[in-house]
């Protein structure tokens, strides 16, 4: 029985041995030096901004106005809508692809494998162009929302299928044998014993993939869907404020993904406790 500890520092402890006195001194010196280097770099950047006039009030003052933020907020909502819808579709589709691949009859399994590898391998931007430029040629009209959401979802589903498969493979064989031995069918074994454990194993990876989905939505400008990035671009053209706007938008994206990561740690902690081995 290998115990899996829950405390955060354990990974660090597992990978590195505790530092001795010489190493500790080395670390202290290294920390101070790198802090100095970073500070110098930041100072250089800010100075360059000042020299080139990027810190002038006209580039920043619009950030103090409510309409700016209302517009950005609308974009934010757009991003969240696309990301959540695409994430949900990708979860269902990824699960279906994995199930088809691992437990379907041979032709189904081969087809699912092909589809998985295709979506996993093709850049999502290419899929978006496909939905934006190719699909309409065949008379299928869809709103910009779906021209963005579907390709992002498809691209993610390929990855999620593989994530789920890794989770299923991580469930010990004995769990399946025990389920069979009390007379559970293959399907019930998958549904009641394997999947619940597999999902718990991969929750961190699933949520990490949601971060990728959020970042994928930034190519919304291709289909002119008003997401955060697209609205930021509009503001940039309006106010000619490239630097300030990009800075603000990157901070917002970092915050979104930071929140997702926090949620992942929380969820993993809550569900992980139950399957310590």
């Amino acid at each position: 029985m290998s115990a899996r500890t829950q405390s955060a520092p354990s990974v660090r402890a597992a990978l590195y041995e505790a530092p001795g006195p010489r190493t500790k001194r080395l670390i202290a010196v290294g920390t101070v030096l790198s802090a100095l280097v970073v500070a110098a770099l930041v100072a250089a950047v800010v100075r360059q901004f000042y020299v080139t006039g990027q810190l002038a009030p006209r580039y920043w003052s619009f950030l103090l106005e409510w309409p700016t933020w209302r517009f950005l907020l609308q974009g934010f909502v757009g991003t969240v809508e696309v990301a959540l819808t695409a994430g949900a579709i990708a979860l269902v589709l990824g699960l279906a692809l994995m199930l088809g691949r691992t437990s379907g009859p041979r032709p189904v399994s081969a087809a699912c494998r092909l589809v998985t590898d295709f979506f996993r391998g093709v850049p999502s931007l290419l899929l978006i162009y496909f939905f934006f430029l190719v699909v309409p040629q065949y008379g299928i009209r869809m709103p910009a929302f779906w021209m963005l959401t579907l390709p992002v979802a498809l691209a993610a589903s390929g990855v999620l299928a593989e994530v789920f498969r890794a989770g299923v493979n991580a469930v010990p064989k004995g769990q399946v044998e025990a389920a069979y031995s009390i007379g559970l069918s293959r399907w019930k074994t998958m549904r009641l014993i394997v999947l619940p454990q597999a999902v718990r194993y991969v929750i961190p990876s699933l949520i990490a993939q949601l971060v990728v989905v959020v970042k994928d939505t930034t190519v919304a400008y291709v289909v002119s869907y008003p997401d955060l990035m697209q609205n930021a671009r509009v503001l940039i053209t309006n106010y000619d404020a490239l630097l300030s706007m990009y800075l603000v938008v990157s901070v917002v994206y970092v915050l979104i993904n930071f929140a997702i990561n926090k949620a992942s740690v929380y969820v993993a902690h809550r569900t992980g406790v139950k399957i310590i081995r």
Binding site: M1, P172, G174, Q175, E177, A178, A179, Y180, S181, I182, G183, L184, S185, K188, L192, I193, P196, Q197, R200, K274, I275, I276, R277
Partner: protein, 254 residues
């Protein structure tokens, strides 16, 4: 019904006829023939790699066989689907690594089969499950998850999980080999109790005292073959073959 039960008496619960199995070039089971009568406790011993675990696992088709026949109460072991699942549900299996469902509580582990396979109601399943957990002595742990229990407690809960299906026979695949020494007896005690209650059992084990005390018959396997079988006292005191003598000498006293 009455007639059926009389015929049942004569048909072995488990019968293997000329079973062969290979893992690639390795011949793991060689012409194994064996039958287990109702209420009999059969203990299988032998050096590691002798095929005894594999043999045990073929009985509910966790391992397939290359040739030969396996009969359960005279019926050929089904090869797949619903029939196989039903047959498995009638044969209990206890594993070396316990294999309790890690994401479910002990009570859920024991009630899962009765509810999902036998279609019992939650109340009915839980009532019997608690009786069984009481019997194996882990009733107070019913609402914990497996990881919170000691190995001995987990294995006893696993036995209760098998019993909840009211099996015709139970297979034990080295049930105490993964346990710390101080926990072996609590599991063996449960098994002795079961044997006394008339359960048909196939036990693969290294516990020679248990074999001597509880077995109706001992089967000694080596290199995938049944080398010798007989009553426990006779086998342990007067082994007929050199292989068995060597094996018994090798595990004797320190």
């Amino acid at each position: 019904m009455a007639q059926e039960s009389t015929t049942d008496k004569n048909v072995p619960v488990i019968e293997l006829r000329h079973v062969d199995k290979h893992y690639g070039d390795l011949h793991v089971l060689r012409d194994v023939s064996l039958s287990v009568a109702r209420g009999e406790v059969l203990v299988v011993i032998g050096p590691s790699g002798s095929g005894k675990s594999t043999m045990c696992r073929t009985i509910n088709r966790l391992e397939t066989i290359d040739s030969g026949e396996i009969l359960i109460e005279g019926e050929p072991l089904p090869q797949e689907g619903r029939e196989l699942a039903r047959m498995r549900s009638e044969l209990g299996m206890v594993f070396q690594q316990f294999n309790l469902f890690a994401h479910k509580t002990i009570l859920e582990n024991v009630t899962l089969g009765p509810r999902e396979v036998l279609g019992q109601s939650k109340e009915e399943a839980e009532k019997y499950a608690m009786e069984l957990l009481e019997r194996v002595g882990v009733a107070s742990q019913a609402n914990k998850v497996p990881a919170q229990l000691s190995g001995g407690q987990q294995q006893r809960a696993a036995i209760a999980r098998s019993l909840a299906m009211r099996p015709k026979a139970m297979m034990f695949d080295e049930p105490t080999s993964a346990l710390d020494p101080e926990m072996i007896n609590e599991v063996l005690d449960v098994m002795v109790e079961l044997a006394r209650g008339g359960m048909t059992m196939v036990v693969v084990t290294h516990e020679m005292n248990f074999a001597r005390r509880v077995a109706d018959r001992v089967v000694f396997m080596a290199d995938g073959q049944i080398v010798e079988e007989g009553a426990p006292d006779e086998f342990f005191d007067h082994p007929k073959t050199q292989r068995a003598r060597d094996f018994l000498d090798s595990i004797k006293g320190h």
